[in-house]
């Protein structure tokens, strides 16, 4: 199966790879929201982190991903889109937009769903840490 040029581009030059600290640190930092979704036995694990400034804006985002090229590209794209957004704007990112942007084939749609889940989980984590009411939960499958 051939990958689309955009998937290859993100895979070869992934944006915003990294973490805002050790596992312990990122779970303690209040200005960081962490979303860890997927499972090793499914062949996909995404860790998405957002760093939120005092005005509630996502000033930075980072990811790490264990998964196929499409999963890596989806999470890389998600970090790009999240930067500079308000929290609730971040929640408006939909998996279908990722599918469209990366021209993902049907067998890879789950990668985009996982990326959307990771975004929601990271935002929910930030809100929970900071006592902000949240009515959106990560999808469960």
């Amino acid at each position: 199966m051939a990958y689309s040029p955009k998937v290859v581009e993100h895979y070869e030059k992934p944006r915003n790879v990294g973490t805002f600290g050790t596992q312990k640190e990122i779970h303690e930092r209040k200005d960081v929201g962490v979303g860890l979704v997927g499972a090793p036995e499914c062949g996909d694990v995404m860790q998405l982190q957002i760093k939120v400034d005092d005005d509630g804006k996502i000033e930075d985002a980072k990811f790490k991903c264990f998964g196929c090229g499409s999963a890596i590209a989806s999470s890389s794209l998600a970090t790009e889109w999240l930067k500079g957004k308000e929290l609730d704007e971040g929640l408006e990112i939909k998996n279908t937009q990722i599918v469209e942007e990366l021209s993902l084939p049907p067998v890879k749609i789950h990668c985009s769903v996982l990326a959307e889940d990771a975004i929601r989980a990271a935002i929910a984590d930030y809100k929970e840490k900071n006592g902000i009411a949240s009515d959106t939960k990560a999808h469960s499958h």
């Binding site: 973490t19 036995e41 264990f66």
Partner: protein, 412 residues
């Protein structure tokens, strides 16, 4: 010597047809095109001669008599004919009833063995799917403990296609002969690479395929033992009665001639080729083991084919790994491209964890593989694993002393 890209290291999937094989085949298309079934003119006789030569070449490679070779369209057909044909011939009760007899096979057989066995299960036979050891082997003892009074057929592959492990075929064959049970082996990956003698090795039925040994696709053979014991089969495909009624249909003469030539070449070059391939395999395994931690070479350390290796890389997913090593054609144990997301059932049968089963590569060498290619592939793999581990949240957790298997994952 520089390498030419892309490099082909997927010889367990298929091989390049040897140009000497192609040369042998070409006259059969345009000059010597007769039907070997035409008994009353020279076109038919010439064609029959070509098939006879090929039948002898195949028989010689495996220590059989030419009369014991049935040409088929490949190993899948050979397996179907052997398994369904023997089961129906030696059934204890007629079709439509249960308790028709017991069949023993293994969980990590090729689908072309598993699916015929599952079909027979639906048709009233009992099937035992043996679980291999963590080294991937099926032993004589495993088969012996599964034997029952009503066992009629044992089918165990000679060497596994994903990991290259070699089962105890001569010993299992001896056991079957003691018990009066028919013994079939799918030898697709074995024949042509390793010395084979169906008489000495106690095999009753053996499947082989041309395209795994530098011959053309779409042709193979089934060895059917004629003496001590004489094995009988119920034909699946009926019609003109070719191949002593076991496989009707006009013979694929060009393909058969190609198979024969491929067998002859494999026999001539086997000893030196075996040593050469083993060196290539060890070279890659040693290079990778020396440079990377948390990897495992799957299957028994020594009881393996010289040309196949299967390596799992912790914290890295197989498909992304292949994408990073795109100049080298290999096979991934992960089936992430399928909707099921299931990792290799072969590796799972060995007890390889789901995470590692998703992270495996099968590298298989062949007649034209070189040391330079092996080095290039190993270097690329090492570089790619390093890059992907930088990206991997699991690798971070591992480095921070977190046991990834203890995390409660939100599985889909």
């Amino acid at each position: 010597m520089a390498v030419t890209l892309p490099i082909y290291l997927d010889h367990a999937a298929t091989t390049r047809c040897d140009p000497r094989v192609v040369d042998a085949m070409l006259p059969l298309f345009t000059e010597n095109f007769g039907n070997p079934g035409s008994r009353n003119h020279s076109f038919g006789w010439n064609s029959e001669d070509a098939v006879d030569t090929a039948r002898r070449q195949v028989a010689d490679l495996i220590g059989a008599d030419p009369k014991e070779i049935v040409f088929t369209s490949g190993a899948t057909e050979s397996n179907n004919l052997a398994i369904k044909g023997a089961a129906n011939m030696y059934a204890r009760k007629p079709a439509g009833q249960t308790g028709r007899g017991h069949i023993i096979t293994a969980m990590h057989e090729h689908k072309a063995v598993l699916d015929p066995c599952k079909r027979l299960e639906k048709e009233g036979f009992d099937v035992t799917f043996l679980e291999p050891g963590t080294d991937g082997l099926i032993t004589k003892d495993m088969v012996e403990s599964a034997m029952r009074d009503d066992t009629i057929l044992v089918t165990v592959m000679w060497a596994n296609n994903e990991i290259g492990t070699i089962n105890e075929i001569p010993e299992i064959g001896a056991l079957c002969h003691d018990r009066g049970v028919v013994f079939h082996t799918d030898a697709t990956q074995w024949v042509g690479k390793m010395p084979t003698d169906v008489k000495r090795d106690n095999v009753d039925l053996l499947s082989l395929s041309a395209h795994k040994m530098y011959g053309p696709k779409g042709v193979g053979a089934l060895y059917v033992r004629r003496r001590r014991p004489r094995v009988r089969l119920t034909a699946i495909q009926e019609g003109g009665g070719q191949e002593r009624g076991l496989r009707s249909g006009t013979l694929n003469v060009s393909g058969i001639v190609g198979l024969g030539k491929a067998c002859e070449l494999c026999a001539e070059e086997m000893d030196s080729e075996q040593q050469r391939l083993l060196k290539l395999r060890k070279r890659v395994e040693d290079k990778i083991s020396a440079s990377l931690d948390v990897i495992q070479v799957n299957g028994h350390a020594d009881k393996r084919l010289p040309h196949i290796t299967n390596i799992s890389f912790g914290f890295v997913e197989g498909e992304s790994l292949m994408m990073a090593v795109k100049d080298v054609a290999m096979s991934s144990g992960s089936a992430c491209t399928s909707a099921s997301l299931e990792p290799s059932y072969v590796l799972k049968a060995l007890g390889v964890g789901d995470d590692l089963a998703h992270s495996s590569l099968r590298i298989s060498f062949g007649r034209w593989s070189t040391e330079e290619e092996a080095d290039f592939a190993a270097d690329k793999i090492i570089e790619a694993v390093g890059k992907l581990r930088e990206l991997s949240p699991l690798f971070d957790m591992h480095n921070e002393g977190i046991d990834v298997s203890k995390i409660e994952w939100n599985t889909h």
